[in-house]
């Protein structure tokens, strides 16, 4: 089974978020592999180990190559190759445009399955994967916590409100991976060494026009002031006062 895994490089969760004149300052961002995408890589490698085939990692990013080291670590998990689509002026908040570029690249690979993370932890749209599936004309199952493959049939459990929906489909399909899906392995030293020799291809792609909405203004949510520390003679007294305040002041219980 040949599998493509979509990987998004996202600003590190510790990144300082600064807004100047209504625009988010992204100059000093350091990037990391989107955490949900790691589950997709692990799942792809497990399928490859069971079924044979090839795992190709596909990432769309700018010309900035500071991401290469982190991206290469995904090869140590057991993927076979990386293709990075390098796009001048790439932005992570254009799911429609990015899905078009990614789906065009996937068409050139001969794959039975596309895996990605449920969402990017930058813009939280949960959109690109689903859009890629539509553009490839294949079904998608999103938010999957358990995925099995048995001679051509995928069986996925996806999180829904209050429970799990089990969905089956034949391949090709696109699956977006949720956290509980698996435990991402720590690569052995020999796998890390080997990953350094695996193919890492940079491919230039044109930027494209799209109907993605443009953010006209970014802002930081109103800062929460530290509130009131509740004093009291003892624990009983403090709890009493807290409940009183939640009832009478905040009116939330």
């Amino acid at each position: 089974m040949n599998i493509a895994v979509l990987i998004k490089m996202v600003p590190d969760t510790e990144s300082k978020l600064e807004v100047n004149d209504g625009a988010l300052n992204d100059q000093n961002f350091k990037y990391m592999v989107n955490p949900y995408d790691e589950f997709a890589v692990e799942q792809a490698v497990q399928f490859k180990e069971a079924e044979g085939g090839k795992v190709t990692l596909l990432s769309l990013f700018s010309e900035n190559n500071s991401i290469d080291t982190d991206l290469r670590k995904m090869l140590a998990i057991g993927a076979d190759e990386i293709v990075v689509l390098r796009q001048e002026g790439y932005r992570g908040d254009k799911p429609l445009a990015n899905a078009k570029t990614l789906s065009d690249a996937i068409k050139e690979l001969d794959v039975d399955l596309v895996l990605c993370g449920i969402q990017g932890i930058d813009y939280y749209q949960s959109a690109t994967g689903t859009m890629v599936a539509q553009m490839l004309g294949i079904p998608n199952i999103s938010g999957v916590t358990n995925l099995e493959y048995n001679s051509g049939t995928l069986k996925a459990k996806r999180q829904i409100e209050g429970g799990l929906q089990t969905v089956e489909t034949s391949t090709p399909a696109l699956i977006s991976c949720q956290k509980d899906m698996n435990k991402v392995r720590f690569p052995a030293l020999k796998d890390i060494m080997m990953s350094k020799r695996k193919p890492f291809e940079n491919k230039k792609v044109d930027s494209i026009d799209s109907n993605d909405p443009i953010t006209s203004e970014s802002s930081l949510p109103p800062a929460r002031d530290g509130g009131e520390m509740i004093d009291g003679e003892n624990a009983e007294d403090k709890v009493k006062k807290l409940i009183e305040k939640l009832k009478m002041e905040a009116k939330v219980i």
Binding site: L24, I121, Q134, N140, L164, V167, K179, G226, I243
Partner: protein, 304 residues
């Protein structure tokens, strides 16, 4: 004023609360048509508070299927010259929304906190940044639960969908209710969350869950205890978990790491219990108690 489509969801014989919230957002935006897709949904679907409802009621539509549902919605959008399509930011909405936007080759805005003729506001970086946009042309948007009050249930005129339904290879073979009887995290008015301060899974089960239950709250967790395997990931609040915005968020034995704050700082009121007076959670809490949770929780529990 534009033509607006609201895609509603049912829950048994009721229309979901979030769908009524979406309907009330839509009411201010133009001429509204409702669409409800499913099997045996006519009673529930009628309650969607819009003037005109299209019902796609077919046994093949019993469970959510992105391929089939998107084909129906896009058919209606084209037939009725609809420019704005609104859904609730549910497990269905967040999947159907982008699939439909791709099918229509139009923009998509997920999990909006505000939607209206003045523009759309949605959270980036788990709510650490708010992004506003004023899209022109066709747009699909999902609306976050509890961002707007619900519209009243009433029946508009009903029409049955008679267009095509796309073929799909997807087949739902089971719906499993886990934790039935417990409140869904993202829909709860009160969330009681526990962290590493609880020391072990048994304490989470014997202290956090019962407190949540007696307060009618959902039980949440920090990533530290999800990673430790005390609770499943579906409980995790934060940048790599769920974003919640309840009336009351109670953080117990949680330090308040930036990734955790990302998922809950939109709560109306935050109360924290922590033994460390310098814990960062107190910087965002409206009310804080410095103390030992093992002493405080039993007392708190006895009040509900």
């Amino acid at each position: 004023m534009s033509n607006v489509l609201v895609i509603g969801e049912t829950d048994g014989s009721e229309i979901k609360g979030i769908s009524q919230q979406v309907a009330s957002v839509a009411a201010g935006m133009g001429e509204v048509t409702g669409l409800v897709i499913g099997s045996g949904i006519s009673e529930a679907g009628m309650k969607l508070s819009v003037a005109k409802i299209i019902m796609a009621d077919d046994t093949s539509l019993e469970n959510y299927d992105p391929v089939k549902y998107a084909s129906i919605a896009s058919h209606i959008v084209k037939e009725h010259n609809i420019e704005t399509i609104l859904l609730g930011a549910t497990s269905m909405g967040k999947d159907l929304g982008p699939r439909l936007a791709a099918e229509l080759n139009c923009g998509y805005l997920g999990d909006c906190l505000e939607a209206g003729s003045e523009g759309f506001v949605r959270p980036n970086f788990a709510g650490k940044v708010l992004a506003k946009s004023n899209p022109t042309g066709t747009i699909v948007a999902t609306i976050r639960n509890n961002a707007y009050p619900a519209g009243e249930a009433w029946s508009g005129s009903v029409e049955n969908y008679s267009g095509e339904i796309a073929e799909s290879t997807l087949k739902t073979t089971d719906i499993e209710n886990v934790g039935s009887g417990t409140v869904e995290l993202t829909e709860a008015a009160i969330v009681v969350s526990g962290g590493r301060g609880l020391e072990n899974a048994e304490n989470y089960d014997s202290m956090i869950r019962p407190l949540a239950e007696s307060m009618g709250a959902a039980a949440g967790a920090s990533r530290a205890i999800v990673d430790a395997g005390w609770v499943p990931h579906s409980h995790q609040v934060g940048q790599t978990g769920k974003t919640v915005a309840p009336e009351l968020y109670l953080a117990i034995g949680i330090s308040g790491a930036i990734q955790h704050l990302g998922g809950m700082s939109g709560s109306k009121c935050i109360a924290a219990i922590n033994k460390d007076p310098d814990a960062p959670i107190f910087k965002v809490a409206d009310y804080g108690i410095v103390g030992d949770l093992f002493e405080i929780l039993p007392i708190l529990k006895s009040k509900f």
